[in-house]
Amino acid sequence: MTLLEARGLHIAIGGKTVCEDLHLKIEAGQTWGILGQNGIGKTTLLLTLAGLRPPGRGEVLIEGRPLSRLHSRETARRIGVVLQDNRELFPSSVLETALIGRHPYLKRWQWEDQADLDKARAALRVMELEDMAQREVGTLSGGEHQRLQIATLLTQAPALSLLDEPINHLDLRHQIHTLETLRRLCSGPGHALVMVLHDVNLAARYCDRLLLVCGDGVVRVGHRDEVLTLDNLNALYGYPLRQVELEGRRFFLPE
C-alpha cells in the first residue's frame, strides 16, 4: 500500500533549490532515511512531505488523495511529525504533553478518556518515561524531552511517521533503543517511517530506503544497497570517507 506519493515535487528555500521534479513512493513497511549536509533542505523536504509547507510545484498524495484536499485533522490522523528542538514555554506535565497526540482523534467537546490515557501511558512506558509521568516538562533534560516528543508521536499512532533528527540529544543506549522502537512500532504492516539522520552507519542499519539531499536540486533516491556507496557519500558530505567491512556489515568512517 502506498502511504505517501510525491509527484514532480519542486522545493526551494532561501533562493536554493532543494529538489526538482522529485518522484517518490513511500510504501507501508518501509523505513526511509534522509541524509545531507546542514542547511541543505532536509527539514524543508520533510515539512513539505508532511503538508506543513507548500511545494513550489508538484503535489503530495496521502493514500492516493491530494494532501491539499485533505482536512488538516484527517491528515493528522495519518501523518505524525516530530520536529527538532521544541522546548515548552508553559508548564505542563509529561503525561499531559504525551496526551496531545490524541488531539486529532477527539471531537470538539470530547475529553480524553481512559483509552486515550492508556495509550499515552503505554507510549511513555516504551520510551522509559513512565516514572516521570507527572514531572513538569520544563525540568526534563534534552534527551528526556526528545524521548517525550517520540512518546507523543507513539500516542498519536499515525500510519506515516516523519521525524527530524529523532536521536538528537540521546545517549548511545537510547539512540539504539529509540531506533529499534520506531522500527518496531512505526514501520510494521500498514506503517512507514521517514527519518532525517546524521549518522550514516545508523541510517545504513535501520533504513532500507534512502534519500540523499545533495544540493542544487540533486536528490538521490533508492534502496540502501544502491544508494549508500562511497562515491555518493563523499559527494554528499563533501568530505572523504572510508568504507570498512566488519562481520559482514559495511561501515563508513570519515578520513
Partner: protein, 331 residues
C-alpha cells in the same frame, strides 16, 4: 498536586475541583464587597432585610462588585489567550496597544470636558482603532502573521499611544489631571452596573471554550499545532479578535487595571490548571475575585479617600505570586 492531575484526567468528576473552589471564593468575595464599607451592613441586610437606606447602599455596592468581577474576568481571560497567541509568558492584555488606544480616547474626552457616555464611547473607539491598526499592520505586505511580528507591531503601536498620553497629560489644565491619572490607574467608581462588561465576558468565554483544547496544542508551537491538525491562521484570528474585544471592554469601563491579566493566568497554571479547558474559566473566576477584593480594599483602606484599584491588585498579587513561585521552585 501532581497526583491529582492524573486523577483529573481519568475521572471527569474531579476535573472541576479547582473551578468549584474558585467559584466558592468568587461568591465569598461578592459577600465581602457587600458587607464592607463606611456603613456597616450585616448579613440580614444582604439577604433582603434592612431598611431603605441599607438596600440602596447594597445596590450600589453590588453594582460596583459586578463591574469589578467583569473587569477582572475580562482581563485575566484576555491575558491567558494572548499569552498563547504570542507564545510569550510575559504577554498581558495591554501589550498590543489596545489600552493605549482606549486611554487616548478617554483622555481626549476628559480634556474636552466630556464625561459619561461620551468618555466610554471615545475610549472604546480608541481601543477599536488600535485593534485594527495592529491587525492591519501586522498583516501588511502580504507577509505571514507570526507571533513575533504581531508582538513587535503591538509594542510599537503601544509606545506611540504612550507618547500621545503623555502629550495630553502635559497640555491638560491642572484641574483635569487628577481625574485623568485616576482613569489611567484603573477606576471602578462609576455608579451603575454595566451589563456590557458581564455580557462581553460571557460571550468571550462562550467563544473561547470551544477552541480551548486547540490552545493546549498551540502553546507547544505553531508547527506542532499544524502537524496535529489545528487550523493555524483561523485559530490565531479567533484568539486575536476575542482577546482584543475583551481588553477593549475592560479598559473602556475600568481604565488600566494592571497586573491582573499578566499574573492571574500564571497563578492558575501554578495551581495545576495547565489544560485551557480548565484554565480559561479558572482565570475568569480568579481574576474577577481578585479585582472585587482589591476594589473593596481600595474604597475602604484609606476611607473616605479612594485608591485606584490597580494599586491594590498589584499590592495583593505581587506577594501571593512570589510566594507561589518560590514554593513551586523549591518543590
Amino acid at each position: 498536586m501532581s497526583r491529582s492531575q492524573a486523577q483529573t484526567l481519568a475521572h471527569p468528576g474531579r476535573r472541576y475541583g479547582l473551578l468549584i473552589l474558585l467559584g466558592a471564593i468568587a461568591g465569598a468575595s461578592f459577600l465581602f464587597a457587600l458587607i464592607t464599607g463606611s456603613v456597616g451592613l450585616d448579613w440580614q441586610a444582604v439577604w433582603g432585610g434592612g431598611d431603605v437606606q441599607q438596600r440602596l447602599i447594597l445596590e450600589l455596592r453590588l453594582a460596583r462588585a459586578i463591574n469589578a468581577f467583569a473587569c477582572g474576568g475580562l482581563l485575566a481571560l484576555a491575558g491567558a489567550l494572548l499569552q498563547v497567541l504570542l507564545r510569550n509568558p510575559l504577554a498581558d492584555p495591554y501589550i498590543l496597544g489596545v489600552s493605549g488606544g482606549a486611554s487616548v480616547g478617554a483622555l481626549l474626552a476628559l480634556l474636552l470636558g466630556l464625561g459619561g457616555v461620551w468618555m466610554t464611547g471615545s475610549a472604546f473607539a480608541g481601543a477599536m482603532l488600535s485593534i485594527f491598526l495592529v491587525f492591519a499592520l501586522a498583516h501588511g505586505g502580504g507577509g505571514s502573521w507570526t507571533p513575533t511580528r504581531l508582538l513587535l507591531t503591538g509594542v510599537v503601536i503601544a509606545a506611540g499611544w504612550g507618547a500621545l498620553i503623555s502629550f495630553i497629560l502635559v497640555i491638560s489644565p491642572d484641574t483635569h489631571l487628577r481625574g485623568m491619572l485616576f482613569w489611567l490607574m484603573g477606576d471602578l467608581s462609576q455608579g451603575s452596573a454595566s451589563l456590557a462588561g458581564v455580557g462581553v465576558l460571557t460571550a468571550g468565554l462562550v467563544l473561547a471554550l470551544p477552541i480551548a483544547r486547540d490552545l493546549n496544542v498551540l502553546v507547544r508551537g505553531d508547527m506542532r499545532a499544524s502537524a496535529l491538525g489545528v487550523p493555524l491562521s483561523r485559530l490565531r484570528l479567533q484568539i486575536y479578535v476575542i482577546s482584543a474585544l475583551l481588553t477593549a471592554t475592560a479598559v473602556t469601563f475600568a481604565g488600566n487595571v494592571g497586573f491582573v491579566g499578566l499574573i492571574v493566568p500564571h497563578f492558575m497554571r501554578l495551581l495545576g490548571a495547565h489544560d485551557h479547558r480548565i484554565l480559561l474559566p479558572a482565570c475568569v473566576l480568579a481574576g474577577g475575585s481578585l479585582v472585587i477584593i482589591a476594589d473593596t480594599l481600595a474604597r475602604t483602606l484609606l476611607a473616605p479617600q479612594q485608591l485606584p484599584v490597580g494599586i491594590v491588585t498589584a499590592l495583593i498579587g505581587v506577594p501571593v505570586f512570589l510566594y507561589l513561585l518560590h514554593r513551586n521552585s523549591a518543590r
